[in-house]
C-alpha cells in the first residue's frame, strides 16, 4: 500500500484497532501475535512511568515470537482465575503519516469480567501505535499501551 491520505489513514487505523480488540475480547489469543510485524515492539506501561521516561514495562516484547510466548504462558502455564475483557476504544487520532507508517493513538477502557460475572473497570489509557501498511494488511510495528494508573488489580495476564 502506498502512502495514504489523512482520512484513509484514520480508517485504516480504526479498522485495525477494531479487529485487534475484537480478537482479545473474543479470547482468540492465538491470533493476537498476527496483528504485529516481526520484529515489533509491544509495551505495557503507565502514564507516570511514560512521562518520567522510564524504560521498564509491565510487559515488553520485541518480536512476534515473544508475543507467542506470552500467549503460551497465559493459556498453558500461568495460574489465575478465568476472566475476560471488553475493550471500548475511542476514535483513532492520526498523529502523523510517514510513507507507509501511520502513527496513531486511541483511548481505551477495558472492563474485566470474572467467571462469576463480576465486572469492573480494569484499565483505562491510551494506545500509542505505529502502524505499518507496507504489506498485505496493516500491522502494528509498535504498540505502546499507556495505562492511566500505575495500579493493577490482582494481576495482568491477558494482554491489553
Amino acid at each position: 500500500m502506498s502512502s495514504p491520505e489523512p482520512l484513509q489513514a484514520k480508517l485504516l487505523a480504526d479498522d485495525l484497532l477494531a479487529r485487534y480488540v475484537r480478537c482479545l475480547d473474543d479470547g482468540d489469543l492465538d491470533e493476537w501475535p498476527g496483528f504485529f510485524t516481526d520484529p515489533c515492539i509491544y509495551r505495557v506501561t503507565h502514564r507516570a512511568d511514560d512521562r518520567a521516561g522510564y524504560e521498564n514495562a509491565l510487559i515488553f516484547a520485541d518480536s512476534r515470537g515473544m508475543l507467542r510466548d506470552r500467549v503460551n504462558a497465559v493459556e498453558n502455564v500461568s495460574v489465575y482465575e478465568p476472566h475476560g475483557y471488553r475493550h471500548i476504544v475511542g476514535a483513532s487520532l492520526v498523529e502523523q503519516v510517514n510513507g507507509t507508517l501511520i502513527d496513531a493513538s486511541a483511548s481505551f477502557l477495558v472492563a474485566r469480567i470474572m467467571q462469576d460475572g463480576e465486572t469492573s473497570v480494569f484499565a483505562t489509557g491510551v494506545y500509542r501505535d505505529r502502524i505499518d501498511i507496507s504489506g498485505d494488511e496493516p500491522l502494528f510495528a509498535e504498540k505502546v499501551v499507556i495505562m492511566d494508573s500505575e495500579r493493577v488489580d490482582t494481576l495482568l495476564a491477558i494482554p491489553l
Binding site: A48, N56, I59, D69, V77, Y80, E150, V152, T154
Partner: protein, 416 residues
Amino acid sequence: MEGFDLALEARPAWRDGDYSHIPFWVYSDTANYEAELRNIYKGPVWNYLCLTAELPKNGGYKATKIGETPVLVVRGEDGVLRGFLNRCSHRGALLCLEPRGSVKRLTCVYHAWSYDLEGNLKNVAFEDGADGRGGMPDDFDKSRHGLRPIEVTEFCGLVFGSFDPKVPDIETFLGPESVRFIKRALGKAPLKLIGRSTQVMHNNWKLYLENVKDVYHATILHLFFTRFRLNRLGHEGGIIVSESGGHHVSYSKMDAERGNQDYASQDIRSTGEGFSLNDPTLLDSIDEWEDGITVQIQSVFPSLVIQVIQNSIAVRQILPTAVDRTDLNWNFVGFEGDSEEMTRTRVKLNNLVGPSGYISLEDGAIGGFVQRAIRGVEEDSGVVRMGGDDVATVDYRATETSVRGFWKMYRGLMGV
C-alpha cells in the same frame, strides 16, 4: 450473648514455641490488625520507605506510608534526609498530596501553615490576626508545633523509617547475613530507578510476606521456570533466616542441565510437558554477579522484598491498606552507568516479575484465594511443617523454615 463468647472460645490460641500452626483468624480479625499497626508498624522495626535515588536533590520529597500512616521523606537544604508524619500540626490535614515532588517549604492547603524542610513551623497565616483583631494568643509558640518526626536511616540506597526511637541501628536490625545479601544485590553502584508499578492484592499483608518467604511453592505454583527446567527445589541453594526470624534470604544457582526425576514422582502440575520459548532472548542475561547465584529473594520484616533474578532487580514495598487488602509497590531498578544493552536486558527479564510477571503474577491472586477460603471458618489453623518445626538456616529449599521465622518475630512484637 453466650453464643458469641463460645465462638471466641473456639478460636485457636497461640501455643508457646509453636511456629508451625497458624490460626486463620490472624489474617482476618480486625482487632488483631489494629494491634499489628500499633505493635509492628509503629514498633521497633525499620520500615522500607523509598530509594535514595528517588530523592537526588535537596528539596525533594517522597510521600509513602508506614502501615496505614502517611509519612514523608524529605531531603533538606542541607542534603540530609529526614522523616515526618505527612500531617499538618494544626488540624491534622495531609501536607503533601502528590506522591513525590520538590519543595522549598511544606505548606498545608487547609490554613496555609508552612514548615521548613527540617519540620519547623515557620509561618501561621494571620498569626497576628486581621485588621489588628483575632490571631494567635501571645503564648502560642511555633517552635512547639513542628512536624512530628520519625526515625530515618539509609542503607545501600534504601531509606527506612521507624516510629520507635529505640529501634536498633539498621545493620543490627538486619543481622549480618541480610546485610551481606542486600550489599550483594544493591551495593555495586548507585541505584537507578527504571520503572514502578503497584499491584493491588485482596489479602492480608502477612499472606504476601509469607508467600515471599515460602520457597516450597515457588516451583509448584509458578510453573514457568519449572516447565523450562530452570529452577527446582533440588537445585543448589539454600535459605538463610535471620536470628530474629523476621528476615530471610533464599538463593539458588540455576542449572538447566539438572534432571527432573524428583518432580516426575510428585504428581504435581509443575512437571507436565516441557515447553520451549519461541524467542529465548527473553532470558538473555549478562553475568554481573560473579558468584553463580542466579536467583536471590530476600525479605526484611515487615515491609520489604528485594529480588534479583539474573539482571532483573526489584525492590518491593508491602503496604497494608486494610485487614484484607495490600498494596505491593514494585520499584524496578538498575545501576547508574548501566549500558543501553544492560538496561534492555533488565527490561526483557522483568517480563518475569511484576503484576504480569511469568513467575510472579500468581502471587497477586494466591493470597486472595486463602483470604476467601478462610472466611467464616477462622476456628481452624494452617500448618507449616515442611522441613520440621524449627527456625533455622538450611542449605536446602524443601522447607518452610523461613515462614516459621516470620511468626517467631511477629509473635515477639505482638506479645503473643
